[in-house]
C-alpha cells in the first residue's frame, strides 16, 4: 500500500492498526470508567437523598476530568519502611490486568471501517473464558502485594481478607459458568454469542447460574455488601491505605474496569452479548455496540443499586456464604444441567434401554 507515495508492507500496516486498536480500546475503557464512576456518584446521591457532584462543568459532567488532573498533580507518598519496588508495581499490576481482561470480549460483530474488516475485540481466542479466569487470578497479586508492601497493619489485614475473599468467590464464579459451557460446548465467546443467536439467551435455562455468577461477581469486585477488604470503618481503606496520587487512582480505576468486565462477561454469556433482544428493533449505525452497552450498563446499575441498599456482611458470614451456601448450589446447578442434557440427548434412550 502507498501512503504519501511511500510503499509500506501489509504486515507493518496490520501491526500499526493493531497498536491503534489497543490504544483506542484502552481510551474507550477509561472513558467508560470515568463516566460510570460519575453516574454511580449521582445514583448513590439520589438514593441517599443528596445532590451529588454538580459543580464541575454543566451538571458535573467534567468531574472525572477534574479528578484525573487532581490525582496526577498530588504529591505521592511512599512510606519510608515500605518495600519501594513492590509498592510501585502493585497498582500497575492491578490496572494492567483489569485492562487486559476486557481484550477478549466481543462488543459487536466485526464492522467495516475504510475497507478494513475490523473485529470488535482485541483477540478472538479459543479459550477466552479460561483466559478471563486466569487474568482474574493474576489480579489478586496486585491486591496482596499492595497490602504487604505498605508495611501497615491495616493494609496487611485488608489484603489478607481480600485474598481470602477473592479466591473463595472465584471458586463459585468458575463453577457457575460450567453450566453455560455444557450448553454451548465451547470456550470461545463469539461462538457462545452465536449459540445464543440460534437457541435463545442462556439466562433462560441457566437462571441459577446467572444469579450465582452475579453474586460472585459482586464479591470479586469488592463491592458492597462484600467490600470487607476496604471496609472504611474498620480498616481505614484496606489494602490501599498508604497509597496516594495516581497510584490510588489506579486501584480505583482497576476496581471500576473490573466491574465493567464482569458485567460484560455476564452480558456475553447469559444475556446474548451484542444481540438485539427484539429482532424487529433496528438501530442505525453499529447496533451491536449499543445493545451491548445498554445491557452492560443495566447490570452495572444493579451493582450501584445494591451498593446503595445493602449493609455490609460480617466476615464469617461472608466465608460461610460462599463455602457452605453457594458452592453446593453451583454443583447442584451443574448436576441439573447435566441431567437435562442427558434426558434430551438422542443417544441416551438406548443407554437406558440396555
Amino acid at each position: 500500500m502507498n501512503i504519501f507515495g511511500i510503499y509500506i508492507d501489509q504486515p507493518i500496516i496490520d501491526f500499526i492498526i493493531l497498536i491503534i486498536r489497543c490504544v483506542v480500546w484502552i481510551i474507550a475503557l477509561l472513558t467508560a470508567f470515568a463516566y460510570i464512576q460519575l453516574v454511580e456518584r449521582w445514583v448513590i446521591a439520589k438514593i441517599q437523598v443528596r445532590i451529588g457532584p454538580n459543580r464541575t462543568g454543566p451538571r458535573g459532567l467534567l468531574q472525572p476530568l477534574a479528578d484525573a488532573i487532581k490525582a496526577l498533580m498530588k504529591e505521592e507518598l511512599i512510606p519510608t519502611n515500605a518495600d519501594k519496588l513492590v509498592f510501585v508495581i502493585a497498582p500497575m499490576i492491578s490496572v494492567a490486568t483489569a485492562l487486559l481482561a476486557f481484550a477478549v470480549i466481543p462488543v459487536s460483530p466485526p464492522i467495516n471501517l475504510f475497507g478494513y474488516e475490523m473485529p470488535m475485540q482485541i483477540a478472538d481466542i479459543n479459550v477466552a473464558l479460561l483466559y478471563l479466569l486466569a487474568i482474574g487470578s493474576v489480579s489478586v497479586y496486585g491486591t496482596v502485594l499492595a497490602g504487604w508492601s505498605s508495611n501497615n497493619k491495616y493494609s496487611l489485614l485488608g489484603s489478607l481478607r481480600a485474598a481470602a475473599q477473592l479466591i473463595s468467590y472465584e471458586v463459585t464464579l468458575g463453577l457457575a459458568l460450567v453450566g453455560v459451557l455444557m450448553l454451548t460446548s465451547t470456550l470461545n465467546l463469539n461462538e457462545i454469542v452465536n449459540y445464543q443467536a440460534n437457541y435463545g439467551w442462556i439466562i433462560l435455562p441457566q437462571i441459577l447460574g446467572f444469579v450465582l455468577y452475579m453474586i460472585a461477581a459482586i464479591a470479586e469486585t469488592n463491592r458492597l455488601p462484600f467490600d470487607l477488604p476496604e471496609a472504611e470503618t474498620e480498616l481505614v481503606a484496606g489494602y490501599y491505605t498508604e497509597y496516594s496520587s495516581i497510584k490510588f487512582a489506579f486501584f480505583f480505576m482497576a476496581e471500576y474496569i473490573n466491574i465493567i468486565t464482569v458485567c460484560a462477561i455476564a452480558t456475553t454469556l447469559f444475556l446474548g452479548g451484542y444481540l438485539s433482544p427484539l429482532p424487529f428493533l433496528p438501530i442505525i449505525g453499529a447496533p451491536g455496540i449499543w445493545w451491548f452497552a445498554i445491557k452492560v450498563f443495566l447490570l452495572i446499575f444493579v451493582f450501584m443499586w445494591i451498593r446503595g441498599t445493602f449493609p455490609r456482611m460480617r466476615y464469617d458470614q461472608l466465608m460461610n456464604f460462599t463455602w457452605k451456601g453457594m458452592l453446593p448450589v453451583a454443583l447442584l446447578n451443574i448436576l441439573i444441567t447435566a441431567g437435562i442434557i442427558i434426558l434430551l440427548h438422542p443417544g441416551s434412550a438406548q443407554v437406558f434401554a440396555r
Binding site: C22, E75, T80, V95, A96, L100, I122, A123, I167, V178
Partner: protein
Amino acid sequence: MPSDYFPLFIMLVVSVAFAAIGVGVSALLGPRRPTAIKGQTYESGMPAVGTARRRVWIRYYLVAVIFILFDIEIIFFYPWAVVFRQEPVFLFVEMALFVAILLVGYIYVWRKGGFDWY
C-alpha cells in the same frame, strides 16, 4: 492458533506502558517534600507500633489450600463441560466419580470446621 494470542501480547505491552506512563507523569508533576512524619505508616494518628511483618492467622493459609483443591476441580470441569454433549452418559458417570471423591474431602473439611470463622 498461536498467532491468535499475538494481539494479547501487544495489549499487555500497551497496558503496562499506560500504567508506567501514569506513574511517571505523576512523579514529574506532583510536588515531592518528604518529611519524617509523612513517611510513617498510618495508624489512626498514633505513632506506629512495631512493623506489619508479622505472622498471620493460620486460617488464611487453610483457605488458600482449599482454594487450590477446588480450583483444580474447576480446571477439570471446563474441558469436561466442553465435550459433555458428545457422550453425556459416560462423561457424567466419570465426573460423578471424580466429584464424589472430592465431596468426601469437602464434607470432611466442613465437619472439621475448616469453613468456620470465629
